[in-house]
Amino acid sequence: MSEKLTKDELARLVAKDIAPGSFVNLGIGQPTLVSNYLTAEQDVTLHTENGMLGMGPQAQGDEIDEDLINAGKIPVTELPGASYFHHADSFAMMRGGHLDVCVLGAFQVSATGDLANWHTGAPDAIPAVGGAMDLATGAKDVYVMMSLFTKDGKSKLVPECTYPLTGVNCVTRVYTNEAVFLISEDGVRVRETFGTTIEELQSKMDVKLLPAE
């Protein structure tokens, strides 16, 4: 049994699981790391919701162009085969189910694939949603990347989300530092574990875990 995964190892795993030729949107933060591990052979096309397909790596030095940024407002580059479009067309592309995979961070994911990743629900917080709800709703597959437990040891994969929802029944896989979970109509299945066992995980989680098929 291997050790728990680092963020980079997790990103590498997610990247490996993306089918060749896929169209993918990587959310801001941890999911962005996935792009470092996509190979040229995979021929994955990255979408950024501010109006581009065929996004390349982060721009460096002279490549920086203030008219070419990603959804995190970071300067990026353009790959051969790229295209630009306006915001309504870009979100139509997501909402219409044309992206194969969207990778997102999360505060919580429920056993039925509900996602909470935009708002802590704190009464004094200023809310901000951005494209989170659109991303959660649109892609054919929504993969979540997160640490499995909070700092005080609570599972973030829960029977029902307590944080305000981003989307209902939308997450299909949860990639964490301790295990990969598949969410299906049967329930939550553990595909693999890292430095732990399904029994050990089950002892710390309220969600019923099914073994790998």
């Binding site: 065929g54 051969p80 085969g81 295209s83 630009y84 139509a92 592309m93 219409g96 709703t137 649109g138």
Partner: protein, 232 residues
Amino acid sequence: MLTIAKSAQDAVAEIHDGATVLIGGFGNAGQPMELIDALLACGAKDLTVVNNNAGQADAGLALLIKERKVKKIICSFPRQSDSWHFDAAYRAGEIELELVPQGNLAERIRAAGAGIGGFFTPTGYGTMLAEGKETRVIDGKGYVLESPIYADFALIKALKSDKTGNLVYRKTARNFGPIMAAAAKHTIVQVNEIVETGELDPEVIVTPGIYVDTVVKIDGKAPAVTEHEVNQ
């Protein structure tokens, strides 16, 4: 990932009986004539076809209708001076017609590609084409609720594709192409030319390759499918 088909026949080979097929074009501009001919030759039947018209003269969609491959047509303008095959099928009760105002037709196709579940349009409000539909007065103006038109396949024509399926069109031949490409599960495009990826300026691409599944280059004007081939 994009498939570059060797022939129109290969490009349409997956179209199955009972499929809903969007067919681009307005008049001859943008009409994917060789793909339509190949669809006829491939023999798929019980089709639901979405096009602005219902076929003209003795070519393309008109032949599909003549051969009774089309169970239902969704269009805005079926009756033309040379729509005799549609007229005959319709009067014989052998084709179902769903008549849709042209702008609602376009917006319903766009809605399917854009993940919109329905929309309120002013077009048709208070007319017989709104009969039986939900209507609503919003800020004093009447609207009709219209639904997306989803489809299994789209057959369209573009000027050029690159090897990832990015498309550009030419003049008014653009018409229904971009919205049909986005609305279908499987989009098949005939183009005059296939260029290397990177040759099309990213600013001028009209249909991004994400919407395109199969392209086929058609050299010049292909010969029409003959009666003989059709009946095989």
